[in-house]
């Protein structure tokens, strides 16, 4: 309603870019979900959306590992995104339980449990709330192995948090904090793009010998539906996926943004006859420099897109590495299309997001450079 008014204002300004944005405003999501073309493992599959896949992964984790615990705010009744539905009934309140409202306490407590060998899977209700736990993650979890000379670790810690824009989250239900944590050696960070990745990555995090943070894009919980393998499987952390092969521009993103980029690749083909290669980074820490650099050396032009603000966003790290390793191959400066350097806005969200039109515009600039 209010958004329609914004676009009317924009139309009056008679700007081409802003006119394109008008089409966007009437849609509910700024992306169109594209399921994975093939399953990573053979065998029986079942149709699940992302929260069901996560639920399934948690179930597997609790089943296969007696020391596994799932806890966080409101997880007992199923959680605000239904990721933990049925788990307390199945495994009992001794293994699946609610914590008080204290993120710092939750993560600290999880670190302690992990220290003692329990597979601690802590949920932070929204990634926007993770900041009280920042000290615990950065100063305790990430450094424990290092500071104790390898004697102690909390590798069995996994922290799950819903992140990213959801259309109406405003300042405190839309943030993407991956960049803050990427700056912390000792942690591992992954961002799934759909149900199959979510299940595989979550199980990988749970079984990984280092503390992991999995940021689940909340916009995909219901929107992303795929045929997910029924079996227990893990997907590699630290390995990027090339979703679409192309020759002229490399598009890099993670989470929800991957789906925006897939649509952009299609638009680039139809509008500029440009073939784009789309890479889902999957893992923020450690990130797959080889796959990225290999692709950039081939295409010579690269666009990185993420919802988080521009300055200090993870795109900056990727861009810096690309120019270090692929300098002589580049035909154009590395482009970044990101959220603006403002707090995540309330009414202005459609303008803020790195949507397909802004990305397409950047591709045109890359091609014309």
């Amino acid at each position: 309603m209010a958004l329609n008014k914004i676009c009317t204002l924009c139309l009056r300004q008679n700007s081409r870019e802003l006119r394109i944005l008008n089409n966007l405003i009437n849609k509910r999501n700024h992306f169109v979900y594209t399921a994975d073309a093939e399953s990573p493992v053979k065998g029986e599959t079942t149709k699940l959306n992302m929260f069901q896949a996560i639920n399934n992964a948690l179930d597997s984790a609790l089943q296969s590992d007696e020391s596994a615990l799932v806890f966080g705010e409101d997880v007992a009744f199923g959680g605000v995104f239904r990721c933990t539905i049925g788990l307390q009934a199945k495994y009992g309140p001794g293994r699946v339980f609610n914590t008080p409202l204290c993120e710092q306490g939750i993560v600290g407590f999880a670190i302690g449990a992990a220290n003692m060998g329990s597979t601690a899977i802590a949920e932070i209700q929204f990634a926007d709330y993770i900041f009280p736990a920042f000290d615990q993650l950065v100063n305790e979890a990430a450094k424990m192995r290092y500071r104790s000379g390898g004697q102690f670790d909390c590798g069995k810690l996994t922290v799950r948090a819903p992140c990213g824009a959801v259309g109406h989250g405003a300042l405190y239900h839309s943030q993407s904090p991956e960049a803050y944590f990427a700056h912390t050696p000792g942690l591992k960070i992954v961002v799934p793009r759909g149900p199959i990745k979510a299940k595989g990555l979550l199980l990988a995090c749970v079984r990984d010998p280092d503390p992991c943070l999995i940021l689940e894009p909340k916009a995909l919980y219901r929107a992303a539906v795929e045929e997910v393998p029924v079996a227990d499987f893990v997907l590699p952390i630290g390995k990027a996926d090339v979703l679409l092969k192309g020759e002229q521009v490399t598009l890099i993103g993670w989470g929800t943004q991957v789906h925006v980029l897939l649509e952009v690749a299609h638009l680039a083909k139809t509008q500029f006859n440009a073939s784009c290669e789309v890479i889902d980074l999957v893992s923020i820490l450690p990130w797959d420099r080889n796959t990225v650099c290999q692709s950039v050396k081939k295409t010579k032009r690269v666009l990185i897109a993420h919802e988080a603000p521009l300055t200090g966003g993870f795109g900056a790290e990727v861009a810096a590495t690309i120019q270090e390793e692929c300098f002589l191959h580049l035909e154009a400066p590395v482009a970044r299309v990101t959220g603006f350097d403002t707090p995540f806005p309330h009414v202005f969200e459609p303008f803020y997001l790195p949507d397909k039109w802004r990305c397409l515009d950047a591709i045109r600039n890359l091609l014309d450079y």
Binding site: A2, K5, L9, D74, L101, V347
Partner: protein
């Protein structure tokens, strides 16, 4: 004696005796008895003031409870009723607007808790300040004395109190000493303590009212705030709006000590029935008096209930039963119980109260229509007010010429 006086005299004596007898048997005053025979007029208050018993208080580290009985005058009775009904109507309207997607974002409604805000606000003085959580529409209305800026803010239009840039959780009113709603649970409580420090330094006899819920009482922020407030004897009025559910988890499953009013360690506390506006007002008066007398911070736990879920994305029934909600609505609703009280005491008539309700409904509806007809601020404001001054000219990432501008409203520059 003239014969002509016998008949009238006899009639007068008989009337008196009948009236007396009737008064005795019906236990009504003569005036009321007489009035009850008159046809019902639209405006016919019986009393200008009445006394009510307050609900029992529970104390911690305190001597002498707040008054067990309070007087309420007619003007206040009508005002409290109107304020509570307005909050109730506003929240109901926002619920509809949310369902029709006019209001977007996250919306946390105050229905059921009206008595806490109205009662406490009645005890606040002009120099006092308030800071609260995201469940702030009711407080916002009380500060603005109008639903217009609140509804407009939620709809996201420029007539909103924060020009549509804050939304439901960030209702602010600097000029009104309302330090806003806050999204992150517990994060505003130490901020409220800082505000209290300013009051103490400036010697303004002001109190910093800090509202938060039961879920927040287990948060590090709040425990740290308690300690600082008591260590430095700051004028903090900690008001816990205990609606017994922290999102989806009942209080007793989150804490060992469910006596929220006693969790401040050295800070004294009172537990009050938050569904009774008069008890809340008394407890608030008591709390403010305590602080003014230099005795330092105090915690008031107002036991209340919310009818809606935690937010409008939460149905509110996955962790509690319909029966429970219905039970509270029928037996403890703050508005219906207050309504009954003042009618019985003769402070108002049913017609008056019905007229107030009707007026409020119409005015809230009008507010909503006005808000829907308005439009949001210009998109250039996306990049305004990030910093106090124009220390950066352009905001990175923006591919047009949206500059950073200071709206000039930064009060910390004045």
């Amino acid at each position: 004696m003239d014969n002509g006086w016998v008949k009238p005299g006899a009639i007068i004596i008989v009337s008196f005796m009948v009236t007396f007898k009737l008064c005795v048997s019906t236990e009504m005053s003569a005036f009321k008895l007489l009035a009850s025979f008159l046809p019902k007029l639209p405006f016919r208050p019986f009393a200008s003031e009445a006394t009510f018993k307050t609900q029992p208080y529970v104390l911690y580290r305190l001597e002498g409870p707040p008054a067990p009985a309070v007087t309420l005058n007619r003007a206040d009775a009508l005002r409290f009723f109107e304020e509570m009904v307005t909050i109730h109507q506003m929240e109901a309207t926002l619920n509809h607007l949310y369902k029709s997607k006019t209001v977007r974002g996250f919306c946390h409604l105050y229905s059921g808790q009206e008595a806490v805000a109205v009662g406490t606000f009645a005890a606040l003085r002009p120099q006092d300040t308030t800071i609260t959580t995201y469940r702030c529409h009711g407080w916002g209305f009380l500060y603005y004395q109008s639903v217009d800026p609140i509804i407009a803010e939620l709809v996201g239009v420029r007539s909103g109190c924060v020009r549509g840039k804050g939304g439901s959780m960030h209702i602010y009113g600097k000029h009104k000493d309302f330090y806003g709603g806050s999204a992150i649970v517990g994060s505003h409580v130490p901020v409220g303590v800082g505000i209290a420090l300013a009051h103490k330094y400036r010697n303004t006899d002001a109190v910093s009212l800090i509202c938060y819920g039961d879920g927040a009482t287990n948060n590090g922020n709040v425990l740290e705030a308690y300690n600082m407030a008591k260590l430095w004897e700051l004028p903090c009025f900690f008001l816990c709006e205990n609606n017994i559910y922290g999102m989806g988890t009942k209080l007793e499953r989150t804490t060992k000590n469910t006596n929220v009013f006693a969790k401040g360690d050295f800070i004294p506390g009172i537990r009050v029935d938050g569904m009774d506006v008069l008890s809340v007002r008394e407890a608030a008066r008591f709390a403010i008096e305590h602080i003014r007398a230099g005795k330092g911070p105090i915690i008031v736990e107002a036991q209340s209930y919310r009818y809606f879920g935690h937010s409008l994305s939460d149905p509110g029934t996955t962790y509690r039963t319909y029966d429970e909600i219905k039970e509270v609505r029928t037996t403890r609703d703050p508005i219906t119980t207050f309504n009954k009280k003042i009618l019985e005491a003769g402070l108002a008539t049913e017609e008056e109260l019905a007229a107030i309700e009707k007026k409020v409904k119409a005015s809230v509806r009008e507010s909503a229509t006005k808000a829907e007809a308005d439009h949001p601020v210009d998109v250039e404001e996306l990049t305004h007010d990030i910093y106090a001054n124009e220390v950066i000219s352009e905001v990175r990432g923006i591919n047009k010429v949206w500059k950073h501008k200071s709206s000039g409203r930064a009060w910390n520059l004045k």
